[in-house]
């Protein structure tokens, strides 16, 4: 029997993996994929809670979250292409044109 706890534990695990990945990986593309993982973890939590309570809002929220994620992908990849054109790399450690 898969219960609410299982879903929430999986969601927390995915969120944790994504957050750790964001902090330790150096390639901008992989970092962005980690954020996507966290985004979907949040979506899973919304759906699980919504299903458990028999409500609709949480499931509707996920549709919006997916739409936002799609827009973020478009913008993020465009920015990464722009960076790659000028710098020939997407490694965030080599992006040091700005002091700090």
């Amino acid at each position: 029997m898969v219960t609410l706890t299982h879903y929430l534990a999986l969601s927390a695990l995915l969120f944790g993996i994504g957050a750790v990945g964001f902090l330790i990986r150096r390639n901008a593309l992989i970092i962005f994929m980690c954020v996507e993982l966290m985004l979907n973890a949040a979506g899973l939590a919304f759906v699980a809670a919504s299903r458990y309570r028999g409500l609709l809002e949480g499931q509707l929220t996920v549709f919006f979250v997916l739409t936002v994620a799609a827009a973020e992908v478009a913008v993020g990849l465009a920015l990464m292409v722009a960076i790659f054109r000028t710098k020939r790399t997407t490694n965030v450690d080599e992006l040091s044109g700005l002091r700090g």
Binding site: M38, A45, F46, S50, G58, V65, A71, V75, T86
Partner: protein, 483 residues
């Protein structure tokens, strides 16, 4: 009560005007010949001014008691005086930003720049009005996505592209953490509307609420660039096109404060003791770190970045006070801050056009080169520093008074000490303008007409509000009663 379709539309009328203006601009952009693209700026100002007129009428109706506050679209947005006043701030910041963008050399004149700016103002208006979690997230992301593109707008310039990518990565990371906090809140309560969340949270264990609250505050902290969520600020401010920096530093920050104030007061009243402690700590760290790191800066945009972090700290004091006076003081401060910070950035834009760099030492001899420009910068700096009798002083006075009234005497003292530190680096900039000499003193400074308008408007605004402090305070107080 069943709302009429008109009442629904009325609540987001400024946003509707902005959508129409953005759509119209797309057509105009395709139709205008290459040599006349500069005129797009006037179209953008027209769209923003139309939305501002609508907002001003709505605000006057709400302030005059002709209209009553209500929630529309199934409890997504609220039309109240606070939402309208915040819209006035965003739209004014938008108009002034377009005016300093029009002749900013590095920006190629193109429609999408202005359209993105309109879209982000639209999102900010919804941020100020949002009263449920879904609307909050959507509005926040609308603003964010448009601003990531604007920060990286000069895509052939490595610094701008880098600023865009950094802003994007930190932005999506923090908003995703916030989303997880929202998911937790939804899981705990089964509600998405602020008012119902507040009722449902009352019976929940405090640690659970606290965990969700902390996650949500990461997203808000990023928007207002509060320490420790400020890492992106100096880099993005330095790398982004200067008019965009000006816009991010005032409008995006004000929008962050709008959602922060509303969410804390309307959704988390039961956890007030917790968030007051968090806000007080954030306020203290933010202003102290911002001011101390501003001192060694040699680049004008980085200095203004750290200065804007410190200013966010002062505004947080008003929220930490968690009283009607505190909220009114924060709204008052945000309105004033918008004018004086845009004035400072307008000078930075003009100087970048002339010298091609943004170093503070390039301001040397400005008082002889262009006395008016130097005087405008001086007024902005002194007001940012809170020197009496300028209106910036009253803004600080109000937040400190609110802190003392709420028993946060230590925070008010820390704020006063911080203001003294800040005075040092504002004066350093003034010294470069008035004392230092430069071989280029004879060369005139070219100021375009729209930029001249921004300067006159902001400086006259600061001076005029110095006289009209009390009416402005009354307005902020009325807005604070909306919560």
């Amino acid at each position: 009560m069943e709302l009429s379709w008109w009442a629904h539309l009325w609540s987001v009328l400024p946003e509707i005007v902005l959508v129409l203006a953005a759509a119209l601009m797309m057509a105009v952009d395709a139709w205008l010949p290459e040599g006349r693209k500069r005129e797009l700026g006037y179209w953008a100002i027209g769209g923003l001014a139309a939305a501002l007129t609508v907002t001003a009428v709505q605000a006057a109706q709400l302030a005059g008691g002709i209209a009553v506050p209500y929630e529309a679209f199934g409890g997504s947005v609220r039309a109240d005086l606070a939402a309208m006043l915040f819209r006035v701030i965003f739209l004014l910041a938008g108009i002034l930003t377009v005016a300093i963008s029009m002749d900013f050399r590095p920006l190629r004149q193109s429609g999408e720049y202005y359209i993105l700016l309109l879209i982000s103002v639209l999102g900010m208006g919804l941020m100020g009005a949002a009263v449920n979690l879904v609307m909050l997230y959507l509005a926040l992301e609308t603003v964010g996505i448009a601003l990531y593109l604007l920060a990286g707008y000069l895509r052939d310039t490595p610094r701008s592209a880098e600023a865009g990518l950094k802003y994007f990565l930190f932005g999506v990371f923090s908003s995703t953490i916030m989303l997880y906090g929202l998911a937790l809140i939804y899981g705990f309560t089964g509600e998405i509307a602020y008012a119902r969340i507040a009722q449902a949270l009352a019976g929940l264990p405090a640690p659970a609420v606290m965990a969700a609250l902390l996650l949500i505050l990461v997203g808000f902290g990023f928007k207002v660039s509060a320490v420790p969520f400020h890492f992106w600020t100096p880099d993005v401010y330095e790398g982004a096109p200067t008019p965009v920096t000006a816009f991010i530093s005032v409008a995006s920050k004000a929008a962050g404060f709008a959602v922060l104030i509303r969410a804390m007061i309307e959704a988390f009243p039961t956890a007030q003791a917790n968030w007051v402690a968090i806000m007080a700590a954030l306020a203290f760290v933010t202003m102290t770190v911002g001011n101390l790191l501003a001192i060694p800066q040699r680049n004008l945009k980085r200095l203004l970045a750290y200065s804007s972090i410190a200013q966010a700290g002062y505004i947080l004091i008003g929220i930490a006070a968690a009283s009607p006076l505190g909220v009114a003081a924060s709204i008052f401060y945000l309105g004033i801050y918008t004018l004086m910070n845009i004035a400072a950035f307008a000078v930075a834009v003009i100087m970048t056009n002339v010298t091609g760099s943004e170093e503070i030492r390039d301001l040397a001899g400005l008082s002889r080169r262009s006395p008016g420009l130097a005087l405008a910068m001086l007024a902005a700096l002194l007001s940012l520093g809170g020197i009496p009798p300028l209106v910036g002083f009253f803004a600080k006075l109000l937040v400190f008074a609110a802190a003392i009234e709420s028993g946060l005497l230590w925070l008010a003292i820390a704020g006063v000490l911080n203001a003294m530190v800040a005075f040092y680096y504002y004066i350093m900039v003034a010294r470069a303008m008035y004392v230092d000499r430069s071989p280029e003193e004879e060369k005139p400074v070219w100021i375009s007409r729209p930029a001249r308008f921004t300067l006159w408007f902001t400086v006259a605004g600061v001076l005029l509000l110095t006289v009209l402090v009390y009416p402005l305070y009354l307005l902020a107080q009325m807005a604070a009663q909306a919560f």
